[in-house]
Amino acid sequence: MTAPADDSSERGHSEAERRLHERTRSDDAGTSPDEPETGTTPRGPERDLGVREQMPENTVAPVDPGGGAATFEVVGVREGMFGVDGTGDTSGYGGLRRPVVMPGATQRPFGGWFDEVADQLASGLRQTGTGDVVERVVVDRGEMTVHVRRGHLLATVRQLRDDAALRFEFCSGVSGVHYPGDRGRELHAVYHLLSMTHNRRLRLEVSVPDADPHIPSVVSVYPTADWHERETYDFFGIIFDGHPALTRIMMPDDWPGHPQRKDYPLGGIPVEYKGATIPPPDTRRAYS
């Protein structure tokens, strides 16, 4: 990794860490020092029973991920019952506000081989003198997700690949996810690793703020990530520092914007069919 790239990612790293520190309050219910600025951040704690009680029928309560997961991760807020703003919603549920919660950190024991991998990774990284890398581990639906701080991503994947007890020799791909409501961690890069030796799958997740979307590239460890990182850059604007040629791959080179971000409109034109005019999908009434 080149020096300037390293520099910028480190800066962002400490920034992300500060944000993370602020967010840990969501784990102890009640206090919320993070006051919403525009009203898109959830107000109450996600475990507020009141929220659950108000829930209309036929909606799913925030999932309680099994396997000892005790916390939730708030990534946004959902308004109304049908996701319709203004007068479109005549159901009376227009004022409803519910947090969007993802499964949060899992407490040990994780079960199965998950503990073994987590221990091995931690001890391996301690030996190489890498700092505290793992933000948290989420075990949900039988899949293990390790949230990694971006500053040490490269050391982490190298450890995962080279340690014989881990041996995740195969990177299945890199995917991006945009959570505009997740303040300070809007952009997530998700790496799916596969250990053919041990027949295990592991998911790495790295979160960066929209204002500083730098993540070290893993191409030097997993050459296959080349196109995947280009794709994630193209669609989400995540800049992978140290990538050999980070250019757009799907969109034309001079395309403005990053299409898979949530604030990027889908586009489309109204279509007339059998006398009726059907609006483009992103302007139709949505039932989200």
Partner: protein, 451 residues
């Protein structure tokens, strides 16, 4: 028309630095003499050829940028994205069931596998993996294996055509049509089926389907040896494919190559065996490998995999015969699409029994129908990774839900996309003609690559 353009007026939008040196020839055919004479003026063997994106040997709209030193390829680069239609973005604006109709259009040669990967991911998110009825799983396996046969047939057919073996092409498409007929019989469509849905499959088997499938298996057992007779020992075929597009095991793992490319190195990695899903561990079949790590090995693997798929098709047909009348979609009325549609005399899909049920008998059924059709079902927040072994390798769908009725994000790890990265290492140092063979042995489908 051949024109020698100087850099200034070649492309008004390009930066000056985009051009390093040398004349540019725009070749549209019939004008090789002028190209040759023009090139002869410059004392250099180095030529940069832009192959595609519209070229019959590029499997769709793939652009290959080849740097040649005489006949030798010194650098090969892929330009992709010409078929990008934003399918993943579109899926975020439709409900979970409608997502099936989008992902089936990605890789148009293996639509069932894309539906399957998506369904696996969504079912894991819903936590209903254990509730899918047996018959739905057997039907999925049956359709996926038939699809593997039709996809491998196209791979062999187009690969053969590209090296001049036109008969292989015609017989390949002849047999593929028979598989598509079966798809049409079962799902109503030749492709873009949207048949495997989260929770099960869309419809039960129509009457007579099993007989047609058995007839097809019988026919294929007579026809498949033709391919072997045409190709396996054919000296031209072996000469063109043998040793071409070499990629060893270390290269495959580094570049993420799976499927026949990986198995041609002798490593028996097949998700159907190594991470069995949907009862694949209860079927009797072999994982085919080859030890040459070249295009010929990949061809032989595809040929043999069709035999193995036929074995699975036979077994699943036997199982389906015993499962007559069994449910094909999950019992949960809040997820399962309520109606069994049939095409009426007006050509529209309808179900009179179901209409009678919701309009006259059960208010709950009406509510469920209304909610499912307008709003769709909700999927608990989280993320999941659904994997299947597609004809081209490991196909995976990373689905993220925010608890809503629409996918928050659906990303497909497309095996064509990943395997296509190997083009450079497979073809650099070889001859121009070998690039075609190497690309054909990867069998990329650009609809899947670009999505």
């Amino acid at each position: 028309m051949t024109s020698t353009q100087d850099a200034e007026r070649a492309d008004p939008y390009a930066q000056q630095s985009d051009y390093r040196s040398g004349p540019v020839f725009t070749v549209t055919g019939q004008d090789w003499d002028s190209v040759v004479s023009g090139a002869a003026e410059h004392d250099s063997e180095r030529v940069v050829v832009n192959m595609g994106p519209q070229h019959p040997s590029t499997h769709g709209v793939l652009r290959l940028i080849l740097e040649l030193e005489g006949e030798t390829v010194t650098e090969a680069r892929c330009g992709i994205g010409y078929l990008h239609t934003g399918i993943e973005k579109n899926m975020e604006y439709r409900n979970w069931v409608q997502g099936t109709t989008f992902c089936t259009r990605m890789d148009y040669l293996a639509p069932f596998h894309y539906e399957a990967a998506y369904a696996r991911g969504v079912e894991r998110l819903l936590g209903i993996e254990a509730d899918i009825p047996d018959k739905a799983l057997v039907m999925r396996v049956l359709l996926m294996e038939l699809n593997r046969i039709s996809s491998h047939l196209v791979a062999i057919a187009t690969g053969g055509m590209e090296i001049g073996a036109l008969t292989v092409m015609t017989i390949g498409f002849r047999e593929r049509e028979l598989v598509l007929d079966l798809f049409e019989l079962v799902t109503g469509l030749r492709m873009n089926h949207a048949f495997i849905r989260p929770g099960g499959v869309a419809q039960d088997l129509p009457p007579g389907a099993l007989e047609s499938i058995r007839e097809f298996v019988k026919l294929m057992k007579r026809r498949l040896p033709e391919y072997a007779a045409f190709c396996n020992a054919n000296p031209v075929f072996k000469g063109r494919l043998g040793g071409v597009g070499h990629l060893d095991l270390a290269g495959c793992l580094a570049l993420g190559a799976t499927g026949p490319v990986l198995r041609a190195t002798g490593y028996p990695w097949d998700l159907r065996r190594t991470q069995p899903y949907w009862g694949y561990d209860s079927y009797d079949f072999d994982v085919v490998t080859w030890d040459t790590a070249d295009s010929y090995g990949r061809f032989r693997i595809r040929l043999e995999e069709m035999w193995q798929s036929l074995r699975i098709v036979e077994q699943s047909a036997d199982r389906l015969a015993e499962l007559e009348g069994a449910p094909v979609i999950v019992a949960d009325k809040k997820i399962a699409w309520p109606a069994q549609l049939a095409v009426g005399s007006d050509g529209m899909g309808n179900s009179l029994d179901h209409i009678k049920h919701i309009m006259g008998e059960s208010m709950e059924a009406l509510i469920h129908h209304f909610k499912l059709v307008t709003e769709g079902f909700r999927v608990p927040a989280g993320q999941a990774y659904g994997t299947v072994e597609s004809p081209r390798g490991e196909l995976a769908c990373h689905v993220v839900s925010d608890g809503g009725t629409r996918p928050y994000r659906a990303h497909f790890r497309d095996p064509s996309f990943v395997n296509l990265q190997c083009t450079s290492v497979m073809s650099e140092g070889g001859q121009v003609a070998d690039v075609i063979v190497a690309v054909a042995s990867i069998d990329p489908v650009m609809g899947g690559v670009d999505r």
